[in-house]
Amino acid sequence: MTDYVRETHHEFLAASKEALADPRLQQILGQLGDTLGRRNREAWAALPNSDLIRERARAIKDQTLAELDQHLETLEKNVIARGGHVHWADDGAEACRIIVDLIRQRQKPARSVSGGPIATVVKSKSMTSEEIHLNHALEVAGIEAVETDLGEYIIQLAHHRPSHIVAPAIHLSADQIAEILSKPAGKRLPAERETLAQFARRALRQKFAEADVGISGANFAIAETGSIVLVTNEGNGRLTCALPRCHIAVMGIEKVIPRLDDLPYLLKVLARAATGQKLSIYTQLITGPRKPGELDGPEEFHLVILDNGRSRILGSPLRESLFCIRCGACLNACPIYRSVGGHAYGGVYAGPIGAVLTPLYDGLSANHHLPHASSLCGACQAACPVKIQIPELLIRLREQLHDEPEQKSRFEALSYGLWAWTLKRPWLYRLSTWLATRTIGRWKRSDPWISRLPGQLAGWTKRRDFPTPAANRFRDWWHKEGRNESA
């Protein structure tokens, strides 16, 4: 099994340590803030009323979620009215099964006996398909799935997971990419961007020409028209639903928006947040299969609507995480992401929003480091096109962690219990502060930090120092001098 399908959970701290010691990765992560991060900040600065526009985008998401079931039903009705098909999937496995079955039904008998793949599928970049490990499911079913976004193509060949929501191969250098692409090229390619991109163009054109099915995600789905909206910069998203005879789109339930008129506001903030563009290069509204007389576009259109835990989140205090439009701006803004990179997070979604989404979709206890992988500085929220209060959500998750059975520690419960018991008794509290100042407070007057606490408490000082109590208590100082000073 390759790294592409995650079997075991990453240990965030160990993976971070490794990432911090990798000079190549550190260099590219350093550039991230100066490129995408800077473009995002400049885009907000250049956009008049950017805060209110983001507020409008946020309002669209909030209102839609309040009546999500109705919008989904409208979407379904209109997709069908336009000749498309709608499939509902409770979880990732179900979505994969639906997609594999759809492809198998189209399978030409002649191809299955040849021993090669039973069908070739071209894929446009989709985080949702990563989330459900669709490529793995297709591979197991004997279906060749080719990622066509340049970054995704590279990491698929290398068997890596994406390390950034919009720049999935950001962890690789041009040299490494040249090495990866040299394999399918059958010759040594130079580490020149143009050459590598042109090789990928030619190789993938061939795949587009052969493929029977195109699979994409959806950035948005418009309920009143039954359209899905796909945003790309390379054009692979357009090829995916122009050439193959069948187009399958997979989307989470939260992607729906009620009206066509809502779309421009979301497009305006999405492109600016993702790459600092006013609009991404290609935005497509896809409404059903091709119409009679058209010579391109799919003959069949299928929309797979996925829950995979989202309905659980919708009714919870973490509901706001469903506003996310997957732009990656919070990654570029985050001091933690920019130090450790995407792979340290161990999930499909990295960065601040990944630290929220991965525990929600994949289990809180299994990803218990992630809610703590943040300094809560708020840069993510400031960069977010829909102003998700990511620090608040992370704090919520930290709270919830305490109720996870696997996370419960008797020692911790005992310590906090003792502490609470003391605080509730003023005489005891006074005594303990008096004792603390007279002992440690005075002994450590010259160096007021403890770098290693004894026993089990050492866990606290493993990654930070503990401040010693002051040499004098505030209440003593107040009685002696403070009172007079204020008068």
Binding site: A167, L260, D261, I281, T287
Partner: protein, 226 residues
């Protein structure tokens, strides 16, 4: 209950429960989000096309557009052109221009007689795509293109060069105007594919450096007829 119904029932309950966690929003005046283009739409559109990496040629009339197109075809060295059927292209005499320039014209009528496989090979081998658009958006430098029989989506996608001829009356100020225009055509009439194109095909996937022409056209030339 079918899987669909149980999923929707679950979403209904969750949406209801989730209303207690709705976020606090500031009121947003209706005009917020509309940026407009200010001043001369043609000029603004041209400036934005250049800014996103396209090349724009603003010409005075149809004759000038024809001449410019001829020059661009020469520059591209194209042997075959994948063309839209479009009133504006007819008016500048595209077919005659291509014939005199010895460029093979490929459009719907030629393609319609071919088999699927032959069509595919034919469109994949064209050197340049020539289209107009439905609307152009000045604020962003965007072409809004609807797919219809005779106005294939591949014309602006497969060839390495895309040339679009736009008339000034097609230009609207803001993306919101473009979407409103679509809305005004009637939602039941919405074409199977509407594409907004804002620049030549680009990627930043190798070391965050921009590289053009990875899947779509690397050259994006727009002729604006005033």
């Amino acid at each position: 209950m079918s899987p669909r119904d149980s999923l929707l029932a679950r979403v209904r309950q969750a949406a209801e429960r989730g209303r207690q966690y709705r976020v606090h929003l500031q009121p947003v005046p209706a005009e917020i989000g509309y940026l407009g283009a200010g001043g001369d739409l043609c000029q603004r559109f041209a400036a934005e096309v250049n800014a996103v990496g396209g090349q724009v040629f603003v010409v005075a009339d149809l004759e000038a557009a024809r001449q410019r197109l001829q020059l661009l075809l020469q520059e591209s060295g194209a042997k075959s052109a994948l063309c839209w059927n479009h009133d504006l292209l007819d008016r500048i005499g595209l077919t005659e221009l291509l014939t005199s320039a010895e460029v093979l014209t490929v459009n719907q009528s030629q393609l319609a007689v071919l088999s699927m496989e032959e069509q595919r090979t034919c469109v994949l081998s064209c050197d340049v795509g020539i289209t107009s658009c439905d609307r152009a958006i000045a604020e962003t430098g965007t072409l809004l293109m609807c797919s219809r029989p005779g106005q294939e989506r591949v014309a602006s996608l497969l060839p390495p060069v895309h040339i679009a001829v736009v008339e000034s009356r097609q230009i609207v100020p803001d993306l919101i105007d473009g979407i409103r225009w679509l809305n005004d055509q009637g939602l039941e009439q919405l074409p199977s594919n509407v594409t907004l194109i804002t620049g030549p095909s680009k990627t930043g996937d190798i070391e965050l450096q921009l590289t053009t022409g990875v899947h779509g056209p690397g050259k994006w030339w727009v002729i604006v007829v005033r």
